[in-house]
Symmetry: C2
Subunit: 456 residues, 2 copies
Amino acid sequence: MDLVIIGGSDAGITAALRARELAPDVDVTVVVADEYPNYSICGIPYHISGDVPDWRSLAHRTRADIEATGMRLRLSETAVSIDSTAHIVQTHGSDGDLRQIGYDKLIIATGAVPARPPIRGLDQLGATDGVHVLHSMDDTFSLTDDLDKRHPAAAAIIGAGYIGVEMAEALSARGIHVTVFEQFPQVLPNTLDPELAKRVEAELAGHGVEVLTGMTVSSIARDDDGPAGVLLSCSDGSTRRADVVLVVTGVRPEASLAAAAGAQLGIRGAIVVDPRMRTSIPDVYAAGDCVHTHHRLLPSPAYLPLGTTAHKQGRVAGENAVGGDATFSGVCSTQVVKVFDTVIAATGLQDGAARDAGYAPLTVTGSYDDHKAYYPGATPVHINITGDRTTGRLLGAQLVGRLEAEIAKRVDTYATAIHYGAGVADIGDLDLAYTPPLGSPYDATQLAAHAWLRDR
Amino acid sequence: MDLVIIGGSDAGITAALRARELAPDVDVTVVVADEYPNYSICGIPYHISGDVPDWRSLAHRTRADIEATGMRLRLSETAVSIDSTAHIVQTHGSDGDLRQIGYDKLIIATGAVPARPPIRGLDQLGATDGVHVLHSMDDTFSLTDDLDKRHPAAAAIIGAGYIGVEMAEALSARGIHVTVFEQFPQVLPNTLDPELAKRVEAELAGHGVEVLTGMTVSSIARDDDGPAGVLLSCSDGSTRRADVVLVVTGVRPEASLAAAAGAQLGIRGAIVVDPRMRTSIPDVYAAGDCVHTHHRLLPSPAYLPLGTTAHKQGRVAGENAVGGDATFSGVCSTQVVKVFDTVIAATGLQDGAARDAGYAPLTVTGSYDDHKAYYPGATPVHINITGDRTTGRLLGAQLVGRLEAEIAKRVDTYATAIHYGAGVADIGDLDLAYTPPLGSPYDATQLAAHAWLRDR
């Protein structure tokens, strides 16, 4: 049996590994468009910052490790079409040759591509002009080459999502003055409520990052007076200059190959899959940033591209492609991002999204010590907790605190509870760990739940 | 309506606060045997170590804060009997007077007392001989006075449970050479499997603590040749000398008052309560270290004295005593302890306890990075995960790692999952938070679950 996988990032490689693990007799071929299979895209900011000096370290596994599992990698080879009747994928190698690969089962893991915001002039500028996107290793090399050669003094980052704020830290670490442009009135608009976002904005400002919220860049052009400088015309009427520009305004699914083969597309053009990660085409699965995702708190699938989700979906697709019966159980959009010495984490739905989904949300804000105040080093955990007034169901939580406040794992308690459909009241009943240096008899996560119950 | 609560520690004060919160018209009186209501017993080691210089900081709330809620505190007053027919508690004040307090509802929160191991001669020695227990603020003052006055060079700690190992750190911090005697072949026998306990023993040894496992102290006597020195005769035939001895071999429930009033006692002499924290006596509730506890993985109640549990049970008792209908949902014996730079956490059942309870346990050991290895500072999280071979149910987990590895909150993910009756396979499906500096696409907790599934 031949399993072919298109895509060598999180979903594709995880699918291939799972298939090899469960069915060593299955022939697994992974078609990878570039030379960098199984690279940690989430790690790119830490290479650019200098925290990870060697880009090769960003590989989850080396090429040798991957091939030792017995799968075949076809690098620098791009899938150009799928004949689902004949069960053939046609590819285009770096040598220019077209090739045909037959499959019994196919997994599409083509990922996503950077979204291009509607900024006039943007489509005429690229890396040679100092205007970069950041999604692949080639994008990374292009940016680091530019930074190494030109030593830019001032960077503009368009978009204050999690990559935008991570890159603000990364470029600051290289001594570059950073200005972040965000069209929404706050940073991390899809992650945090406004009052918590203010804490992140303060953290950025405290490290010298200029944050311009509610500011749209309407047009962009080369500054022909400067060495590869760029001029940005802004919604406040001002024009700002930057030596280097990073456009990080999210991604859209790369589903063109699947669509051309007849796969049904859904929200935001993502490939429609069932809980077994099957597309609408027989014998064809899909996983990762190219597919829609089941959110456990939403009635309809959403587009939620994240590495964690891609791994889980890839694992399910890989298992099922070799005859298994795994089910993707969905996500609750858990995220965490580190910005300098602050950690931001969220899971579930923000208040507005919950209302849009038909819930009756109530969000309660509070701050609680990360551990007993008498033990040295206590620091506040700022928590917004959202529940349904009618049913008491836990709908979401956002946490912001210092690096040492174990924010990333505290959100996991809420994420686990949401997975099981918890009520807010259940949180207070959980038997969580306590010792004075590391918590409280009722953990911060539980005190937030008690506060919600009082306010309900 | 009069609510009387006997006991001013975690369960008693939490019950009183909850009652006042829900029913401001109820008259709440708390009878406290000493002068220290609402003190954090768990914090005592950190006062002795010097981390918390002022013992007053150990109060969860000040006396003024407590009284501002409108409850009445009767300090240094000991309840001596309960007339459950007449609904009267008789107390004994520090002035020697007997008093009678009528109640409509009564909550017994008398806590626990230190267990005394069967060591010959121990009953003839006390604080003036340099032999201490450590359970109350008076015990604490007695020990710190002794340490301050005599500046002992060598301490013996009998018992390597969590207080024993915390106190090994605390006394070491004061420059005292510590020897820990543990009759079981490992430290933390009720918390950790042997191979993980070895890591804790190494941490203790690395900080100069002498750890003698499998070593029973058979008799103890004053060393009349030295200044308040003590001689310990050991099961290996040796005799060892210490300037100060700490006996921390666990606690037993203080249920004598309840028993004399006719309350049914259960396991290890703890007061039997129902899920609403009612004793067998009408209008009398009980909570905290004096009662038995429902363990969510065990068919019968267990004796599991812990501050977190006392808070939750007190909250339920306080709510129900004023007409509420709260239920204590049980625990899964989650614990965490910090020993120098190592954190140990556990939840659920150890392999042997699981077998005793009728499960078919399989425990799988592994070590996983706390975050992506490419990001600086990655450190291993050592995990033993136990599940039922037959049903796949998650039965327990133990974690050991460095202070910065977020061990305390990682165990909470398992504890939350166990609360909901999770299978081991479910752990891999959880949507946990990931960013390279703080985790992995599959968190260490999830990789342990995958390892278990492979070995099953």
